[in-house]
Amino acid sequence: MTTMVLAEGDKFVAPGVADFFLPDIVPGVTKPMVLLVLSIVIIGAFFLAASRNMKLIPGKFQFAAESVYDFGRNNIAREQIGAKDFKPFIPLILTIFCFVLVNNLFGLIPLVQFPTMSHIGFPLAVSLLVVYPVYHFVGFKRHGFVGYLKHQTVPPGAPWFVLPLLIPIEFFQKFILNPLTLAIRVFAAMFAGHLLLLVFTLAGEFLLLNGGLTVIVAPVSFAFALALTFLEALIMCLQAYIFALLSASYIGMALAEEH
């Protein structure tokens, strides 16, 4: 894209959707696909290496891995699902958190610089095909078919006359909206963030090379890009946390005895 901008000369072309769909590396294989595979290799290798020879008193590396594991285990899974039921869901929540986090952070790593989650297909795969079936499955298993439908759609304590209104809304939210919003949330944040970074860096570059007098504004643009990078780093971590947190929260709500 950068070369295209330069080639087109003095006319600035704002970055857009096309920047998210780079040409295939080899036919059928795109950059995000490679990054996605890379991410699971990194995460898998990290945890396998950390857990291969674990000691009661952890070393630095093991301590780091334990911190990540504990964050997923205690701060997300146990908080949201409850101390009684959270154990079987630890691997799932931990995987979600790390998977989203690393793929988000790819947007900041030099040379890689592409948040995989800005392609909606990836978060959608996790939310719609993993989290969604899991929480409804455990819900149906815990409460029975009718019991779970009632549990999910009829909030306790609601007066009977609002139920005709409340039940469709709750049903729509729990069975259709939740997985979509879960995916869209992280997708939109990554998409917008990456676009913002592109705008400021490409604008800075354009101003520097083609702007004539406006070249003095270029540093401002770069400074903004830098500032936004820090903001993005925060958002990337936050979105990974929210994704895992909401997933755990859906599971916790499905399993809860009462609302």
Binding site: A18, P32, L92, L129
Partner: protein, 181 residues
């Protein structure tokens, strides 16, 4: 060129997921999930369980040690109380024994003194008897000499003289005897 580029860009609606990516995302996620569930999580959980067990074991051990110490302390206290009671008992015994010894000694001393007094009395009696016997002989002779001088004649007759003196002394004894009692 520009037109086709825009078309190509339009062809990728960012909100519409690409099937290949959904499939790859799912497969990759499940693969990672499998690795974490199968290998990583059990190791971490085992470690945590071991750590918990170790801490709980340590607490239990400390509790045992404390109980042991408590038991020993009670034992010592019991023994101390026993020793105190023993000491008190011994002291009482010693006191009683001491009293008894003093009593015995006193009795012995009294007996001894009584014996000594009796012996003295006895000696005194013997000496008195002896003195009386001696005096009786002396007194007889002296009295006879005195009498012969007074009378002017020698009472040579032995038999008469003895009889007279004895008779006189016996009378004297009879007079002195009640006073002696």
């Amino acid at each position: 060129m520009n037109r086709t580029l825009i078309l190509a860009a339009e062809g990728h609606n960012p909100v519409v997921p690409q099937l290949a990516e959904v499939i790859l995302g799912l497969v990759a996620f499940l693969l990672l999930f499998f690795v974490i569930k199968k290998f990583v999580s059990p190791r971490f959980e085992a470690l945590y369980a071991e750590r918990t067990a170790k801490i709980e074991g340590g607490i239990e051990k400390a509790e045992q040690a404390q109980a042991e110490a408590q038991r020993t302390l009670e034992q010592y206290k019991e023994q101390l109380a026993e020793a105190r009671a023993e000491a008190a008992r011994i002291r009482d015994d010693a006191r009683a024994e001491g009293l008894q010894i003093i009593e015995e000694l006193r009795e012995q001393a009294q007996a001894e003194s009584a014996r000594i007094v009796a012996q003295g009395q006895h000696q005194l009696d013997a000496q008195r008897a002896q003195i009386v016997a001696e005096l009786r002989a002396d007194l007889g002779r002296t009295a006879v000499e005195l009498a012969s001088k007074v009378v002017g004649e020698s009472l040579e007759d032995e038999a008469r003289r003895r009889g007279t003196v004895d008779r006189f002394l016996n009378e004297l004894d009879a007079v002195a005897a009640p006073a002696n009692k």
